[in-house]
Each structure stands twice: as structure tokens, then as C-alpha cells.
């Protein structure tokens, strides 16, 4: 039964952090190239435009949910299972979500990269 709890918490982490990453990426795409904006309009404008972006705030909220799910998962399962499982599943989930929601062209090169990194993370932290 504990395994079920642990894995649902892991899935919650993965879901929340994928949602957060996609929202943050979309928000920053709207803000535009931060370096260019900084040179032209100053740091204050960069910060104001980022923090004033509702999608950015939603992304941060999703990241907070992911963090608290991590705390829950850690209270039920071992770090050596939770951390690598959540991290590597997040890599795969992000590749899928970026293709669907951000319209990124995830070609074979990027699928291979995401899978290699996901496998590597699972081995490394395991």
C-alpha cells in the first residue's frame, strides 16, 4: 500500500513539475530575450515584465506544488527511489509536453538526448 502512495506522489511531482516547466518556458518566450531586453530597457523592466506575467506566476505555483509533493513522497518512500524516478520521468514528460504544448520540434536527436539523460539520472541517483 505504501508503494502505491509513493508512486502516486512521484507521479504528482512529475506532473506538477512538467506543468511548471512548460508554463515557465511559455512565460519566458512571451517576455522575450532577457539579455537583449536588459541592454535596451534595464534590469527593472526585465524583472517587472517577468514577475508581472500571469503565466510565470502560475508556473511558480506549479513548481511549489511539485516541491510539496516531493516532501510527501519523501515521507513515504526512500530518497534513492523518489529522487531519480521523479527526475528521469520529468525529463521524458517534458519532452512530450514541449512537443505538444510549446510546439517545439522534438526531433530524433532530442528524443535520444532526453532518453539518455533520463536513463543516466536514474542510474546516477539510484
Amino acid at each position: 500500500m505504501k508503494a502505491v502512495y509513493t508512486w502516486s506522489a512521484i507521479l504528482a511531482i512529475v506532473f506538477a513539475s512538467v506543468v511548471g516547466d512548460v508554463l515557465l518556458a511559455r512565460a519566458m518566450r512571451q517576455v522575450g530575450d532577457v539579455g537583449a531586453l536588459w541592454r535596451r530597457a534595464g534590469l527593472g523592466v526585465v524583472i517587472g515584465r517577468t514577475l508581472g506575467n500571469p503565466i510565470f506566476l502560475l508556473g511558480v505555483a506549479a513548481m511549489a506544488v511539485a516541491f510539496f509533493s516531493l516532501l510527501f513522497a519523501l515521507s513515504w518512500g526512500d530518497v534513492s527511489l523518489v529522487a531519480p524516478a521523479a527526475a528521469s520521468l520529468t525529463f521524458i514528460g517534458n519532452a512530450v509536453a514541449a512537443k505538444i504544448f510549446l510546439h517545439e520540434k522534438v526531433d530524433r536527436r532530442r528524443w535520444i538526448a532526453a532518453s539518455l539523460v533520463a536513463a543516466g539520472v536514474a542510474l546516477l541517483a539510484g
Binding site: D21, G35, L37, F91, N94, K105, V121, L123, L124
Partner: protein
């Protein structure tokens, strides 16, 4: 939705004009700066995480019944520096996402895991098992794969730095909107030229 798209297109055109007008720094230095940001994401995340975990081990576990322990944990210098580093990580991560794909930034910055393992092996003299070495090889391979490709794929509607136009379009739009009633009033009073002076 369509208004947003039109706005972005307008900005792209503006950005192109700006690029042509002001002699932008050479492509090489721009690329170098971007690699510096990606390296920042990697290093800040790895350093922040390890400082935080080191500090939290010093302060001891925090139980659910004593949540105020979190506040005291921040007083630990390792934890404080770790939090600062993670803030720096977040800033560089957001910067990278502003000009690169998510599927590029994430694998490209996963070298942090490798750095952590190498620090564990050569600084902390921990044992790194063969399986973990295999993990390091896989991650490094994945980073090599994605780093060889383009950082931004072409299907983005807004891949041309949407908001790099000077002083922000919104500002001038708002200014124009604010001026419009004034102009109308002036026209009624028979002095239509007043509001136009400030615009260029």
C-alpha cells in the same frame, strides 16, 4: 489570441529593424554569453543543492510537528548561501528559457548531475559504483547529442526575440490611448495640434 499573435509579429519586425540599425555584437560573443548562462544554470543548481543538503544535515531533521525549525534552518550559513545560489539558478534558468527551447535547456544543463557525482568522488572521496559511472557516461552523451543541434527550433511562432524592441510597445500604445481623448477635446476646443508634439 489573434491580437497577441499580431502583437508578436509586430515586435519581430521591430526587433529585426533594431538589429539592423544598432550594430549588434558579433555572433561569437552572443553564443559565448549564452553558453555562459547555460553553465551558470548547471553550476548554480549543483552548488546550491549540495550546500543546502550539507546545511540541512548540520541543522538536523525537521519534524512536521515543529515546522518553525525551518526558520532556524535559514540561519545556518550553508543553507543561506544555498538559497542564494538556487535563486541565481532560477534567474539563469529563466534567462536560458527566454531564448532557447525547453527540450534544449533541460538536457544541456543536466551536466549538474555529473558535476555532483564527480565532486562526491574526488572532493568528498565517496565511492562511485560502476553503475553510476555508466550513468555519468549516458548523461554526458545526452548533453553532447542536444548541444550539437540548434537551441531553438523553427516552428516557434515567436522565435525572433518578441520583445527586444526599444522602450516597450505597450508603453507607447498606452500613451497614445491616454492621449486620444485629450486630442478629441482639443479638437473640440479648436486646438488640434497640441497633443501631437510629443510623438515621434
Amino acid at each position: 489570441m489573434f491580437a497577441r499573435r499580431a502583437q508578436i509579429l509586430q515586435r519581430q519586425r521591430q526587433a529585426l529593424q533594431d538589429d539592423n540599425r544598432s550594430g549588434l555584437p558579433s555572433k561569437l560573443s552572443v553564443n559565448f554569453r549564452k553558453y555562459l548562462v547555460l553553465a551558470g544554470v548547471t553550476v548554480f543548481a549543483a552548488a546550491g543543492d549540495s550546500m543546502l543538503s550539507h546545511g540541512m544535515k548540520q541543522t538536523g531533521g525537521i519534524s512536521v510537528n515543529h515546522l518553525q525549525g525551518v526558520i532556524f534552518a535559514v540561519l545556518n550559513p550553508w543553507v543561506a548561501v544555498g538559497i542564494l545560489l538556487l535563486l541565481a539558478f532560477f534567474a539563469t534558468y529563466m534567462t536560458a528559457l527566454s531564448w532557447a527551447d525547453l527540450t534544449y535547456v533541460l538536457p544541456a544543463t543536466s551536466l549538474g548531475y555529473v558535476i555532483l557525482a564527480l565532486v562526491a568522488r574526488f572532493v568528498l572521496h565517496e565511492h562511485v559504483s560502476p553503475l553510476r559511472w555508466l550513468g555519468i557516461v549516458l548523461i554526458t552523451g545526452g548533453v553532447g547529442f542536444v548541444a550539437g543541434g540548434p537551441s531553438l527550433t523553427e516552428r516557434h511562432p515567436a522565435h525572433l526575440q518578441p520583445e527586444s524592441s526599444e522602450s516597450g510597445d505597450e508603453v507607447s500604445v498606452v500613451a497614445a490611448a491616454a492621449k486620444a481623448p485629450l486630442l478629441a477635446k482639443d479638437a473640440r476646443n479648436g486646438a488640434p495640434q497640441v497633443g501631437v508634439k510629443g510623438e515621434s
